[in-house]
């Protein structure tokens, strides 16, 4: 498969979750790994504890790291900070925003959607698997936690090494029965779930036309590389009907009789189809939990959305 950068605005992922859920740890992983040119907007740079040997320079509120990533305190004006960071050259490949522990991260996402040159990738909300049930029972906190989850695209259940995640998962499900739920420890979220490389950079395998990859970190991937165009309405129906085990789906596809190329991005329940210039090879990568439907079932499902096939109802 040819590596082609996907064109378009800079994706922005909002990381929410209550205090202690692991947001700062996650951001630290991302900055240290530097797998792409990340720009990270945080509430309190001091809390990050970035190794001073990693810091290459500072320009105003923006701290540059030796690996090409930058980090910046949000300050009182999120939109302004976002615009400043997005305008940097070289431009960041991906922007992460760490929401404050008490804010509703979707409200940050709404501001992202208003800025030019950036596009909302997803809102991920971290939950402390060990502490969540008790936090939720605290009348001081209940509604703050419920508001954070209400509009999350994906929920990341963290610290599953410290506590069996069942109780916390059930508590999350009571608030959001439909949300994709990821279980991790030490905030070690695979890059692909952060909206990083799903396609184009390092596909796990492209030997077969569709393929369910081996579990990696307990996640499953699935590829679709049929270049045939989709029927837009049928594709929308398929995407809307995907089960919560589907966490992300991303890639290029064509739609309609003219086969217009589009960038398809899905995070949890939310997806978008954006027209792009012709070029990148069509192909979609899905990442899901360990109970992602089998590869042939997924393939059958997506085949129903192809323009040339007769749509058949998906078995319930």
């Amino acid at each position: 498969m040819i590596v082609v950068p996907i064109p378009g605005p800079i994706p922005v992922t909002v990381i929410g979750g209550f205090l202690g859920a692991g947001k700062t740890t996650l951001v630290n992983h991302v900055l240290r790994a530097g797998s792409r040119r990340y720009a990270v907007l945080v509430n309190d740079f001091g809390a990050l504890n970035v190794d001073s040997r990693l810091i290459a320079g500072q320009d105003g509120a923006v701290v540059s790291l030796a690996n090409g990533c930058v980090c910046c305190s949000i300050g009182p004006d999120l939109g302004g900070t976002l615009a400043t960071v997005a305008a940097r050259r070289p431009a960041p490949e991906h922007i992460l925003i760490e929401a404050s522990g008490v804010s509703d991260p979707w409200r940050i996402a709404q501001l992202v959607k208003l800025e030019e040159g950036v596009a909302l990738d997803a809102v991920l909300v971290l939950v402390d698997a060990a502490a969540f049930p008790e936090q939720l029972a605290d009348p001081y906190l209940t509604d703050t936690l419920e508001r954070q989850l209400a509009r999350a695209d994906l929920v990341v259940l963290n610290k599953t090494d410290l506590a069996p995640p069942g109780l916390a998962a059930a508590a999350v499900r009571r608030i959001r029965g439909d949300v994709g739920l990821v279980k991790v420890a030490h905030a070690a979220l695979p890059d692909a779930l952060l909206g990083g490389a799903l396609l184009g950079d390092s596909p796990p395998c492209a030997a077969s036309r569709f393929h369910a990859g081996p579990p990696e970190h307990g996640f499953r991937t699935w590829l679709w590389d049929d270049p045939a165009p989709f029927d837009r309405a049928a594709l929308a129906a398929v995407l809307d009907g995907l089960p919560p085990s589907v966490l992300r789906l991303k890639g290029m596809c064509s739609t309609g009789r003219d086969g217009a190329p589009h960038l398809l991005q899905l995070a949890g329940r939310r997806w978008s189809l954006t027209p792009v210039p012709a070029g990148p090879t069509p192909g979609l990568v899905m990442i899901g939990t360990s109970v992602l439907p089998a590869a042939d079932a997924l393939a059958a499902l997506f085949r129903t959305a192809l323009l040339t096939k007769t749509a058949v109802p998906f078995p319930a």
Partner: protein, 546 residues
């Protein structure tokens, strides 16, 4: 040779100093109080210049406003749109506007006075709650201009109305997914914007938010002029990010002999990371002077009651609105309070709703258990809803309260009808309970949210009359003498300045407020009408602007 004393004489001097509560003469040297009493008492200080210009007036200790914002000095650059008449820093009284048509008219006048065709029309102080129904909509402001943005900030500072040009510039359309965009029955934007996200975008993209201009030297002078006219000689600037530029402006004005105000800024903890904030607080403490007193740190825990963003305990909002916002969640508050408390800082904590007050009390209690400290004087600001049980905890922990008495007049009717219902509204801003329990308390205006006028604030605490002239909870009324203490020594105590200002006592700054009538003998309902004749700061006399 020592300089001769300066002696002011008055019809009566109310000292707020219980050892000698009343006098007719006060002697001043080097800007400080040397002595007081009758003519004979001050004769003992040797030859003196007798200043008899206040001989038929009443002198009190200079009023102390424990919760105001110096940015009021900036808001008056824009037209005022409030419902009530209000005096600006130049002494001009802006008539209150009684309906949307009058508001549009004033905005059209302001629009006509602008030269730059692209400049926004900006205004402040708008409060449609008094219009009994109609809200302002985009079409109203489109009558002001269809070529330049119009941005109106509400009195609370938490809501805006804008016109079509401003909506367009901000990128807000019917399909925009953003909380806080008010819509009509058809889903179209009305131009009313709620909350920091939508308003923040307008501020950045369109510009022109009246309550967001950076404080500068002329603004500080205007603020001092407003304070002086109201008889205030010491005022808090209770939420400031205290950038080097702002601190330089403070130093410039407070270094002038004739500057008529002592300023007590509070560091906005939210503008800094925790450790950076503590470091900045330490740095600033060494930069105080006689008219500039650093040391306070401000935390904001919840929003406002009338905006339905304050955090309330059961049963929540009377009209069923969902509970408000934690600006700082209790778990986070615990860490912040503990860190500043341990460092030795003096916390002023904004809590409007009773759930927020309870959380702050709880976290101060925990901090005190971990790091006991006598005389901490941590203060709950606004403190509008604690019941008697919470007040008992407040008392037991040595917490001070600065109570938002002006709310009773301005929003008391709305609190009874909408936010709290009749029972809780009757005990809101419970100065009576604080007084009975011996809680150290002050009362405040939160200027520019309501006008800076301590005698009016005292009138509210004494009479508890709403704008519709209903008496809200008569049992919580306090005597005039207690209210006068709250606007002098009470407020000074909450700012740890009671050894310097707030009463007339030997060694304290010679700060006086000169009144046309005696508040202790006047009809309590006339308290707010007593004229401020002049102020004295460090022995230096200032007369109000025209």
């Amino acid at each position: 040779m020592r300089r001769a004393a300066q002696v002011f004489t008055a019809r009566r001097i109310i000292t707020m100093n219980p050892s000698v509560p009343y006098a007719t003469h006060v002697a001043v040297r080097d800007g400080r109080i040397l002595g007081y009493g009758a003519a004979d008492d001050v004769a003992a200080f040797g030859p003196a210049e007798l200043d008899a210009r206040f001989a038929d007036k009443v002198i009190m200790p200079g009023f102390v406003e424990g919760h105001s914002h110096a940015f009021e000095g900036m808001t008056w650059l824009d037209p005022y749109l409030g419902y009530f008449d209000r005096r600006g820093p130049d002494g001009r009284v802006w008539p209150g506007l009684k309906g949307i048509e009058a508001v549009v008219q004033r905005l059209r006048e302001a629009e006509g006075a602008l030269d730059d065709p692209a400049a926004p029309v900006t205004a402040w102080g708008f409060d449609p709650i008094y219009f009994g129904g109609p809200r302002m909509v985009r079409a109203d402001l489109d009558r002001v201009s269809v070529t330049r943005p119009v941005v109106v900030t509400h009195a609370s500072g938490h809501i805006m109305n804008v016109n079509g040009v401003a909506l367009h510039q901000a990128g807000f359309t019917q399909s925009t997914d953003l909380d806080g965009l008010v819509r009509d029955a058809d889903g179209a934007l009305t131009g009313e914007l709620l909350g920091p996200e939508a308003m923040g975008r307008v501020r950045r993209v369109v510009g022109g938010a009246s309550m967001e201009r950076a404080l500068d030297v002329p603004g500080l002078r205007r603020f001092a002029g407003l304070a002086q006219a109201a008889g205030v000689t010491t005022a808090a600037d209770l939420l400031n990010d205290l950038t080097p530029e702002t601190v330089a402006s403070y130093h410039m004005v407070t270094g002038e002999t004739g500057f008529p105000l002592r300023i007590v800024p509070a560091l906005a903890a939210r503008s800094y990371g925790l450790q950076d904030g503590i470091a900045r607080w330490r740095e600033l403490r060494r930069q105080s002077n006689d008219k500039l007193h650093f040391g306070l740190v401000k935390l904001v825990v919840d929003g406002s009651i009338q905006g339905f963003t304050a955090r309330l305990r059961w049963p929540g909002y009377h009209n069923g609105a969902p509970n408000g916002m934690w600006y700082v969640a209790p778990a986070q508050l615990a860490g912040i309070v503990a860190a500043y408390h341990e460092a030795g800082a003096h916390l002023h904590i904004h809590t409007n709703g009773d759930e927020a007050s309870e959380a702050a009390v709880e976290m101060i209690g925990r901090a005190l258990a971990a790091h006991p400290r006598l005389d901490h004087r941590h203060t709950l600001q606004h403190c509008q809803m604690p019941d008697e049980a919470l007040y008992r905890r407040i008392k037991a922990l040595g917490i001070c309260c600065n109570i938002f008495a002006n709310h009773i007049y301005y929003w008391g009717d709305a609190h009874a009808a909408l936010t709290m219902g009749p029972s809780r509204a009757a005990r809101m801003d419970a100065c009576g309970t604080a007084l009975r329990l011996g809680v150290d308390f002050a009362i405040h205006s939160d200027a520019p949210i309501t006008p800076l006028a301590p005698l009016f604030t005292a009138w509210c605490a004494v009479n508890r009359r709403t704008a519709s002239d209903r008496r809200l909870g008569p049992e919580e009324c306090i005597p005039v003498a207690a209210a006068l203490r709250a606007i002098t020594l009470g407020a000074a105590y909450t700012m740890r300045l009671d050894h310097l200002v707030g009463s007339i006592d030997v060694g304290k700054f010679a700060d006086f407020t000169v009144l046309d009538a005696d508040p202790l003998t006047a009809d309590p309902m006339a308290l707010r009408d007593i004229g401020v004749h002049a102020t004295v700061v460090g022995g230096y006399v200032s007369a109000p602007a025209a």
